[in-house]
Symmetry: C4
Subunit: 298 residues, 4 copies
Amino acid sequence: MTPASNRAQNGPEWRGRLFDIIFETDLHPGARAFDVALILTILASVLVVMLDSVETIAESHHRLLYVLEWVFTALFTIEYAARLASVQSKRRYALSFFGIIDLLAIIPTYLSVLLPGSEYLAIIRVLRVLRVFRVLKLVRYLGEARMLGRAMAASRYRIIVFLITVVTAVVILGSIMYLIESPIPGTQFTSIPASVYWAVVTLTTVGFGDITPATTTGQFLASLIMLMGYGMIAVPTGIVSVELAHAVQSARESGVPTQSVLMGGEKMICSGCRSAGHDDDARFCKKCGGTVISVLLE
Amino acid sequence: MTPASNRAQNGPEWRGRLFDIIFETDLHPGARAFDVALILTILASVLVVMLDSVETIAESHHRLLYVLEWVFTALFTIEYAARLASVQSKRRYALSFFGIIDLLAIIPTYLSVLLPGSEYLAIIRVLRVLRVFRVLKLVRYLGEARMLGRAMAASRYRIIVFLITVVTAVVILGSIMYLIESPIPGTQFTSIPASVYWAVVTLTTVGFGDITPATTTGQFLASLIMLMGYGMIAVPTGIVSVELAHAVQSARESGVPTQSVLMGGEKMICSGCRSAGHDDDARFCKKCGGTVISVLLE
Amino acid sequence: MTPASNRAQNGPEWRGRLFDIIFETDLHPGARAFDVALILTILASVLVVMLDSVETIAESHHRLLYVLEWVFTALFTIEYAARLASVQSKRRYALSFFGIIDLLAIIPTYLSVLLPGSEYLAIIRVLRVLRVFRVLKLVRYLGEARMLGRAMAASRYRIIVFLITVVTAVVILGSIMYLIESPIPGTQFTSIPASVYWAVVTLTTVGFGDITPATTTGQFLASLIMLMGYGMIAVPTGIVSVELAHAVQSARESGVPTQSVLMGGEKMICSGCRSAGHDDDARFCKKCGGTVISVLLE
Amino acid sequence: MTPASNRAQNGPEWRGRLFDIIFETDLHPGARAFDVALILTILASVLVVMLDSVETIAESHHRLLYVLEWVFTALFTIEYAARLASVQSKRRYALSFFGIIDLLAIIPTYLSVLLPGSEYLAIIRVLRVLRVFRVLKLVRYLGEARMLGRAMAASRYRIIVFLITVVTAVVILGSIMYLIESPIPGTQFTSIPASVYWAVVTLTTVGFGDITPATTTGQFLASLIMLMGYGMIAVPTGIVSVELAHAVQSARESGVPTQSVLMGGEKMICSGCRSAGHDDDARFCKKCGGTVISVLLE
């Protein structure tokens, strides 16, 4: 019995079984099937929201999309209720990352009755697809995500320094471009905010081309900004590479992954005796020899 | 005699000689000449397919291109037949990577008689150019390709985590942009799919400019997406750098390249006694002292 | 008493207290509040300058923006006077990095009375936001900025070699494109400078699309330039990664950060006995056990 | 006396002195002044060629630009003659990298008498600016350039594998886009070559926007290509980073830079006794204690 799990400790037996199906991937034969069906349903519902925004499709298939939208919302509402019913602490699930996403995924459709247009907010359902990591070999992916997260966290100070520098640079460079380009009749640099937006577009090497310099001076400064952006991309890359190399090396040397950083946390438990406290890369229970699986701390 | 080779074990002697010319690069004096001629022919035939799609050229040189197209197809058909004839196991060649490509390269022209327009599918012939690695110093390139492939394979979990994150991000960001920009009359953000496409264009720093934000809010969000994409490119780069450094280091330390990952597989055999089982970096046969060459397992 | 500090050594007591509030972050209870208020005021004033350049807003809120602009300028003038009054050496502050920025931040508004249009130069105020590093945990950020700066400084020769190569390449490639494209009627490659600008836009993968090749030869050369730019970005990235890895490793091994490179310099002093000479990562005074803080050498 | 030097061994003394001024940077008091003047003249002459291509400037200042162009050409012709006169082996200089560039830099102007329009070819003069490395602290820069060159050379097999893969990918992806997009009326994907050009523009994240997909299928495939390009940039970056790290580490460990790779070669000689054979990082002559300088093997 894992104390970190939100599995119901008492009450009718179906609550425990429901929990195993909905929240865990390996404990119950129906759990994996449930997860796969859930993800396909989520993807289908996201597709419906997307197609509903395409005018030609929305006009010709309005009725179908409308019905499908409500069917998916009904399914997700039942699922949300089942999740709430099966957990020991309602509050803990409701306030967890996925608990909030699950709720936000059903609200927009109901809201659209009162507030037309809000049905598009249902696109947030795509975040529920992140549960896909549970269906795949979870530990492996969580381990990698955690390593990436650790590398990011370790380099956060450097990244903030870099971002503040970049933002300061684009504000100043955008303003200088405004001073250079705005006197030209028919200029696309109509204001400082628009010019700063252009500087971001240019420095990040995106280059939409909706705003472009017309004067030779402007093109010269633009060339400098581009070369700067071309070279500066080396900085975040270098930062992340170095930290990632460090994280990978530590993991290889110690063999003991540290605490989770990226995800809301998960735990290794034995599928036999449900004991916790196993290493993240453990495959067999150190107490009963059963298979060790990972469960999300929902 | 290498068991991995598909060289005919019996039958008339010309089959073995044909195999040496067509499939191996160093065993027969004519083999290298055959390979060079083959690659030049492939490049020429790809050029013909490309030029045939240019309207002005297609109109003025229609007859010439048509004849050339059929000449090349005839040559490739003969070559395919020769390959089939010279190998021991027809089935093994026909189902190998290059066996399938060789077949796909001749089908479109024949198909175009029934289905006009399908002749452009012949562009798949360009894949046959990958045989160029056989003409160049094969082992060297395969070794490098294998190392790159190993680095990629080792970082596949991290790359999948990264891609799922990116796809989730562009769906949500694209939808938010749709909510912001679509109410503007004459907006280019006409639907959620189009907006998600725009988000991909922006996040990957491609920036076509066919769709661009018109509102200040939209430009502000676009700036954030661009900075995000500018910084996030550090993640795959860091991942690949770290794994590549690891792969290179292992290779340098051990000196023994491991199993092939990228290509369909190849083998080191002696050009003298045809014995197999040499190390990938061997230059002389450990049995007879002859030159060791590499052959593709076709 | 730290000799490096510009704190007034004599004169009325309020000068010392004013110095502590304005220049140091941890010594006086009011210092942090002052810093936060200052940064918010700077951001607000930058916003006013930006909004003033948006025609529709400038027209409808002209009076308000005008008044706000002068209020901010008055505040910054008072602040500048207070800084001058509280330091021991007027000259040293006035010629320091932030001293010059502080002055440049107030001049444009006064200048705009004589020279309409120069009020936009006030955007330079955004540089004052760099003081934000003082409000955040200073040492941490300065340490990271210093490390990035060291890595940049260490690779400056390589970066200069790279930049000279890139500039030479774009001049030659741009000129070749001019020779190829300019004979076409209605070409966008109107001159060599414009073509060189296009080459920069292309090589850095920005790709505005305001100038694009129309001939097949031009598109072929453009493709080569793009592939070159796509691959060459690896060079600065590799340079910075290697030096950053080296800088991080040295810092981890020695534990003793070296001299500041990026910023104007700062010093660790004890908030109790004001003694200097502590290590950059010291948290407690080695003389009196008080908390060690960092102060900028203004 | 360095045998590698092309300094005249016999003949009048002025030849030797001329050689010292023109070819070496530290041996003669006038040498550095000559180098600085030369580079400024080159830059000015490049500027004249560029300005001559700007229609408005060419019309209003036609006479001035024409005269300047001939003055610069005359100067460079005299310089070329002086270089030829001062070297021991005319042939060796004429066939060296800079010898060819020096000649190519003067031909276009003479050619323009017969072939109007060829004067723009004079832009090749910009390559002569690479002599700037001689004026700067030569050894330092050459050392860095050499290290970059070594890293590039060491990773050439991997880069060729990468490039062949990229080229194969853009040909196939461009052709697929042509099949998808060309049936649409008014499509911008007018031919396979144009579509392949678009694929290069997209994969390298340049994104001009002159050609953009109009169908949803096309936008979907385009999104995949962009994500592919966004991720694939990690490969060359990783390759160069790893090799550069290796090159830097070897250089640090051995302390003995290896043979030149990038430039045409240079040599360390003593400015006192002119003896050769010093280490690349030597500062004093091991024979006479004089200052060691580097000379290009011209």
